[in-house]
């Protein structure tokens, strides 16, 4: 009998159930594009921006319904608009101040909501924070919606803001960003363990499945590491290793009808902060990077801050492209533009609007290429490049094959899926695996494409079509 108990103890000792065990994700396909101007680990506080703006386009597919007009006084956390799809989903003001301008585009589409910030202080909307451990999923969802945190929760398939009525199969969080010049979360979020843990505790209650967190295999010190009850995955491989879609694909791929929710690691901090402090504060540690930056480093700023408040005095003069986000998936902005909702990076690279004599024929040491046809980047794998925005050629029909596959670590056929998407063949898109991908997963195929195809926007349109037709 005693022996039996001993035997049982061996099994009881196994503290992590089998489905929580960490899984190693390994692949070789992909590409790390090494650019000059990586941020050094040092954080400066950006001077407070005088104007902040919310761009409704950041919330893809959502039509904003304004809750207040020009001249209204707002606090940080005051709802600015709700979405036409679901009145519960609200987007709130990042600061306190006055709504000074609602900028409209063609057909009166709302482009930007600008807020003139109070000069020396931020007034916050006070929230009554639910106690996580004894709140139902519904109560937590209601709080997330009320407090403007909901848009941080996004769903796959389709890469859009999640639907509060859904019960996600799993929730995935990528613990690192592998894009070129991306912020290093292990550094930038290092003192945010408490907020992250709080947010993860909330997310755990929203799904009957698991909360999955993927970490870079070499990273032992991640602020997202070491939490209980989490399915951890360690990723070995080049970019897009940090893309959450790749991580889902290699662990529990999405099937038709299933919903998986995703949250960016820095967004956990905003969610956690609201639960700890009871206020909404979209604080970001933004990496200012790129070859046109004088001293690439990190800045503390709020989402919606004017770009110039972060870049002032630290970017080189002359022709440059400013990007909110990274050079593969980010959005082009002007200096008087604004830091976009989901972004943790501002990139400044040279504009490439110059002709090059015989550029297609002569050997080129300054340009990076996956191909060896007159390029030497394969000889110096660690060399960093100051790439510009030149397309390096004109758009053409798709000719070269087998190239997308080299940078696409999914078990599906990228070019065939792209072609099915171009021809709006919904049945074939579904068969080829459209549910598993987001536009960002096609950023590398777009980068390497010799025919200069705009893969990401094609995939985005395809996903929008799926939303319309399949839902």
């Amino acid at each position: 009998m005693g022996k039996l108990i001993k035997f049982a103890r061996i099994f009881a000792h196994k503290s992590t159930p089998f489905f929580l065990m960490s899984k190693d994700i390994r692949f070789r396909r992909g590409l790390d594009i090494k650019l000059t101007g990586e941020s050094v680990p040092s954080i400066a506080a950006a001077p407070k921006s005088s104007v902040y703006a919310i761009t409704p386009d950041d919330f893809h597919g959502e039509t904003p319904k304004l809750l207040l007009g020009e001249g209204a006084e707002v606090k940080a956390g005051t709802p600015l608009f709700y979405t036409k799809r679901d009145a519960r989903i609200k987007v709130v003001s990042p600061v306190s101040g006055e709504v000074v301008e609602i900028q409209r585009g063609a057909r009166r589409k709302i482009m930007e909501i600008r807020i003139l910030a109070d000069r020396d202080r931020i007034d916050y909307e006070a929230f009554r924070v639910p106690v996580i451990s004894n709140s139902s999923a519904e109560a937590l969802k209601a709080f997330l919606c009320r407090s403007g945190l909901w848009p941080y929760i996004r769903q796959r398939p389709y890469a859009i803001v999640a639907n509060p009525d859904d019960e996600p199969r799993d929730i995935y969080i990528s613990g690192f960003d592998s894009h070129p010049l991306a912020p290093d979360y292990t550094f930038s979020l290092r003192d945010k363990r408490a907020e992250i843990a709080k947010a993860v505790a909330v997310l755990k209650r929203l799904t009957p499945g698991q909360v999955h967190i993927s970490l870079r295999a070499s990273d032992t010190d991640s602020p997202l590491g070491g939490m209980d009850g989490i399915a951890y995955h360690r990723v070995h491989g080049p970019h897009p290793a940090g893309n959450v879609g790749v991580q889902i694909h290699h662990t529990r791929p999405i099937n038709p009808g299933e919903k998986v929710w995703t949250v960016q690691a820095p967004d956990l901090v905003v969610i956690g902060h609201a639960f700890v402090k009871g206020v909404f504060s979209p604080e970001r540690v933004v990496a200012l990077a790129g070859s046109q930056v004088k001293q690439p480093k990190y800045y503390r700023a709020l989402a919606g801050a004017q770009i110039s408040s972060i870049t002032a005095g630290n970017v080189k003069t002359g022709g440059k492209r400013l990007i909110s986000g990274n050079p593969l998936t980010g959005t082009q902005v002007r200096e008087e533009g604004f830091l976009r909702w989901y972004h943790n990076q501002i990139t400044a690279i040279p504009e490439g609007n110059a002709h090059r004599f015989m550029g297609w024929l002569l050997p080129d040491r300054k340009r990076f290429s996956l191909s060896r046809a007159g390029f030497f980047s394969w000889l110096t794998p660690n060399k960093r490049y100051a790439l510009d925005t030149n397309t390096n050629g004109e758009h053409r029909a798709l000719v070269v094959t087998g190239l997308y596959e080299k940078v696409f670590p999914f078990d599906l056929y990228p070019m065939e899926l792209l072609k099915a998407t171009l021809t709006k063949d919904i049945d074939r898109m579904e068969k080829l695996g459209i549910y598993e991908i987001a536009p960002e997963d096609y950023a590398l195929p777009e980068f390497v494409c010799p025919s200069k195809t705009e893969c990401q926007s094609i995939i985005r349109e395809g996903l929008d079509l799926m939303i319309e037709e399949v839902g």
């Binding site: 650019l35 791929p253 099937n255 038709p256 492209r321 990007i323 050079p327 593969l328 980010g330 959005t331 082009q332 990139t347 690279i349 609007n353 110059a354 002709h355 090059r356 004599f357 015989m358 550029g359 297609w360 024929l361 990076f368 290429s369 996956l370 191909s371 046809a373 007159g374 390029f375 510009d388 925005t389 030149n390 397309t391 390096n392 050629g393 004109e394 758009h395 053409r396 029909a397 798709l398 000719v399 070269v400 094959t401 087998g402 078990d411 599906l412 056929y413 065939e416 068969k431 080829l432 695996g433 777009e446 980068f447 390497v448 494409c449 010799p450 025919s451 200069k452 705009e454 990401q456």
Partner: protein, 383 residues
Amino acid sequence: MKPLRNFFDALQSKVRETPKLHKYQPVVNAFDTIFFTPNQTTKNGVHIRDGVDLKRVMGTVVIALIPALLFGMYNVGYQHFIQLPGAHGFWEMFRFGARRVLPLVIVSYTVGLTVEFTFAVLRGHEVNEGYLVTGMLIPLIVPVDLPLWMLAVSVVFAVIIGKEAFGGTGMNVLNPALVARAFLFFAYPTFMSGDIWVAGATATDAISGESLLGKLGLGHAVTGGTMRMFVGLIPGSVGETSVVAILIGAIILIYTGVGSWRIMLSALIGASLMGLTFNAIGSGALMSFPWWKHLLLGGFMFGIAFMATDPVSAAQTTRGKWIYGFLIGLMSILIRVFNPAYPEGVMLAILFMNVMAPLIDHVVIASNIKKRQRRYRSAIANS
């Protein structure tokens, strides 16, 4: 380069501002972009782009073809002069060959590009770089004595029926250069056989103008050393004879990543296996012809290095490429041996597999789809 740039800038703005000239925009762009990489920048999506473009890809193939072209020029002269009495020097042979080959190249490019530009203007699309390669391939796979008008007709046929009818480069089913050659063979069969492979073949030797494959097909013994075949000093189409020159080209294609090594390797394996099988049976001169010599003869090497690897008409999936190449090799030798009236099998093998390539891809992709659907089904069953 400033004056040239200014010239193009002036030309571009003239075309932009004159409504009548709008339709010629593709022509101006084509010439402009030959000299200058355009100053276009990325808009949305990725902000940085890989350095490679289609012009460079196609340019690389043309560079890879140059060894075969140069050797072809020399060999044309060599084949011509060895049937004549007297000693002749290297440069004399090369000059003779160049005088015979260059008109083929010039006619091929002029006629082909004229058709391409016409279509670009009529249909309002940019001129694609595909013809840079096709235009070089065609002169290399025809007999040197081909009348220029025949070449011109075949080029027009290849570009219009082989490519533009399908929507231009990237959309074609068949390799346009092979369409040109197939057109020649079936439209002018009496010309495309017999004593055509040596420039100005005189009657000094009745069959000296016959290619070795032709001899083989007629049941004649093939003489001449293996080294000769390897180096390429044998009669044949302009660029196809020298295995050495083709290998240099193939290495360029593989090293730059422009040509698929999978297709080349699997075609070699397929041809070797077929040859070995025939050797094992060994009935008749053709069947017992050593398998490895098959690889050195005719257009086989040229075909698998430069034509089978055309990404547009080949299989597109990785697994599909292995199957596609293997079957090309297999069928090339099969056609050679079983159809002595038409010993050059590689052209028909590639054309046939061009047609079959979408089917191969379909099967390969279907297995991927099936795997996914099994997962879909089991997910539904579990929920």
